[in-house]
Symmetry: C2
């Protein structure tokens, strides 16, 4: 929804070039709110308004624009102005948005950056997708250990302007090796002892991550220790940058959505649903549907195998969808629970015995419950009450199959070093479908050989 409240005023300010009012507009409220008020403007109108904000504020507001608007501005406006904006952007956001742009324009812009910033961009782009290095920012408050509290505060006053966050001060030696950390809170608390050195104040055992660590494990560490930011180091413990709380929230949201999509048998989308091109979406869904189709094709061959039995006892057909869906649904529940618990680190591979024991118990419990209901339905629809017992026995076996496959397959995938969420619910259901049909027909076969039709009639 577009906030149109200020739109007419904004357009008027622009038309009459009321400089002061536009400058005031750019600073009056939270940058995110300012960006929302500008949603109705065209990219180039928005960019003209932003010219009245000072560079850092301009960059902050720009960061809250939609990606589309950002790209249109970056690609369409004056290269020199854009290069200035890019100089001010935080290194991680800058790299992210440059990735989306036309390579020709990126090269032009890079040539306009200072030597130092250009090197920074090129270096950050080298980190693999989803690595700690790819989400870190290199703007970080680094201070040398010999500084005193009052010197540190003064130094921080200088640096603060350019930094994304100043809530942890990282203490480094002269070759940038990470030595310790002091929180802004500790520093402020120590104002009464202005001559204490950072070395005395700092915590030496810093929770940190390697630049090549996976972003999901980084997010788990930050969540576990309730950190505001986490330092990223190279193999020699040299400080490369930090990952801040807002990026961690983004990572958590992104990874959660990817898991949901995998569980639902969709290859994770890189864009939002509405922005993903139809053909891309079709491919990310179609590839799984094709795999699932071939799994389902096996059910057709299984049924062909039992054609004679079905031909003789057509009533069995009525319960095919019910029997296989009971197994698929309980299996899907198991895989959902196991996959999401593994993603949160609540279940380890070593817990597999506990998991299997629980899932057998669940299968017995749920299978008996559904079996009972199935018996009722069987009594109603089967040609002879005696044959109705085929249904509950089948359901019990199929549900146990379901809970076991649903729990073991994701664990097995994790054991192989694969993403357990690849063992999506439809895939579990597909496997249980085939097993379900074999179990159903076998149980029916046993029943009809024990109690042939004639005898049942006699009984």
């Amino acid at each position: 929804m577009i906030n149109t409240l200020y739109l007419p005023e904004l357009r008027e300010m622009l038309a009459e070039n009321r400089t002061e009012e536009m400058a005031e507009f750019c600073t009056a409220v939270h940058a995110g709110v300012t960006a929302e008020f500008m949603e109705g403007l065209t990219p180039s109108e928005a960019w003209r308004v932003l010219q009245h904000a000072e560079p850092f504020r301009r960059c902050e507001i720009f960061g809250f624009f939609s990606e589309d608007k950002q790209l249109q501005i970056l690609e369409g406006e004056d290269r020199q102005e854009i290069a200035q904006l890019i100089e001010v952007m935080s290194p991680d956001d800058r790299v992210d948005i440059l990735e989306e742009m036309d390579q020709g324009i990126v090269d032009e812009l890079l040539s306009l950056l200072s030597h130092e910033e250009r090197r920074n961009v090129i270096r950050l782009r080298e980190y693999p997708d989803s690595s700690a290095g790819s989400v870190m920012t290199t703007d970080v408050a680094k201070l040398e250990e010999h500084l005193t509290v009052s010197q540190a505060l003064a130094e921080l006053g200088h640096q603060a302007e350019e930094l994304e966050t100043i809530y942890y001060l990282y203490v480094v030696d002269e070759s940038d090796h990470l030595r310790g950390v002091v929180s802004a809170k500790q520093l402020v608390r120590s104002i009464v002892q202005p001559d204490k050195s950072l070395e005395e104040l700092m915590e030496e055992d810093v929770v940190k991550v390697d630049a090549f660590d996976d972003q999901e494990s980084v997010a788990q560490i930050v969540a576990r220790y309730d950190l505001l930011a986490i330092p990223v180091v190279d193999r020699q413990n040299r400080m490369l940058g930090i990952i801040t709380h807002d990026d961690v929230i983004d990572v958590v949201m992104e990874e959660a959505q990817e898991d949901v999509q995998r569980i639902g048998a969709v290859n994770p989308l890189e864009e939002t649903y509405l922005k993903t091109p139809l053909l891309t979406l079709g491919w990310k869904r179609g590839m799984w549907l094709i795999i699932l189709f071939f799994a389902a094709l096996l059910t057709a061959f299984a049924l062909e195998h039992y054609e004679a039995r079905i031909d003789q006892h057509v009533w069995l057909v009525m319960f095919i969808p019910l029997v296989i869906s009971a197994g698929g649904n309980s299996g899907g529940q198991s895989s959902t629970l196991i996959i999401s618990s593994m993603a949160r680190g609540e279940i380890q591979l070593t817990d597999w015995v506990k998991v299997v024991r629980r899932e057998i118990a669940m299968g017995l419990m749920l299978g008996s419950l559904l079996g009972l209901l199935g018996w009722g339905a069987g009594l109603f629809l089967a040609p002879k009450p005696m044959y109705a017992a085929i249904i509950p026995i089948t359901i019990l076996c199929v549900v146990i199959c379901g809970t076991l496959s649903g729990s073991l397959l994701p664990l097995f995938f994790r054991r192989l070093g694969l993403d357990p969420a690849l063992m999506s619910n439809p895939f579990v259901a597909g496997i249980v479908d085939i097993l379900g049909i074999i179990i159903y027909m076998s149980v029916a076969g046993v029943f009809y050989s024990l109690y042939p039709m004639a005898e049942a009639v006699a009984g």
Copy 2:
């Protein structure tokens, strides 16, 4: 996994009562790491070690213990000592853990708290589960607007000890109405102008939430504006507390897992999978399975209705699981995508036309693809090549049904004000199963009436 590295040393320190070393152990590393080193100790051993930390540090380390260990300590150790711990705990964590405890012990402990803290606990417990009020902390840096930068810094130095976070300073008037916010960064940046007042420095338009707002929407706002903390106010704009970044990460993780579980047709668990009692787990899964069972029962009645047709053309049975799983899987993909996109705020109700258009396109695309494969399988298994065409036509129609139900039902649930994730994938699959059977049998009926067996043989 338990970290046993320091366990023998710790036990030795305890046995020989080496006070200084224990005090040193409690402060040497990040509190979360300290807690990990103590994982192998019994709750009462851990509590004895903690006696050598100063109260705030003790509380910090305690906060990283597992919930089980926390409860055992709270319920088992000296009431007076525990009351002291509870006085120091952050108000939101305190309320959370008291909820889990035996009411008798809670009452005993409450009577040992200061009047003020007791009232605070009682007030916070009144907020509904999952509301902003239930996750906020009331320890917050509140400063009056007439203070200058240097006065504010000094005041903050006093307050910092007791506060969870000091990264935003909230400016209030004498009756606690929220007037504005100053970030610690701005304050530090203004050290060069020590006489500037907070009123001049503060941002007046504060992004805030109401105490009764839902925690999920709070998390979305914090993520959207990249905030470190968000103030919680009552209907009169009086400042009640703040929600900090670490609680937001917890909320995001919790809500994501709840969505995953709902999509997988499991009622969200309150505990982790392994800690949920079997009967509770059985109930949270069983209630959905029963509902899904009755949905599946309709397929049995639908098939009974077509018994004569099936009896005549038994080969049709082979494709029943394949046809309905094609519809269920594509429908499940649609509901997964729509539900998770709505949870992230990427799709609004007003987008429904766009969504439906996309899903019809998807249905056509995916249905044609699977239909083509189905045709191949049909040519192989159908009694006459002509009848093989029943399969692709059915699959195309069923897949479109699937994508439409999978997308429209969650939107419809949201429209009714219900949680769209209640429209779980198995539920969508259940609906598509029935439609699938009706479509399949109708298409087959049309084919056999247009081209009766005899004619097919003749052709």
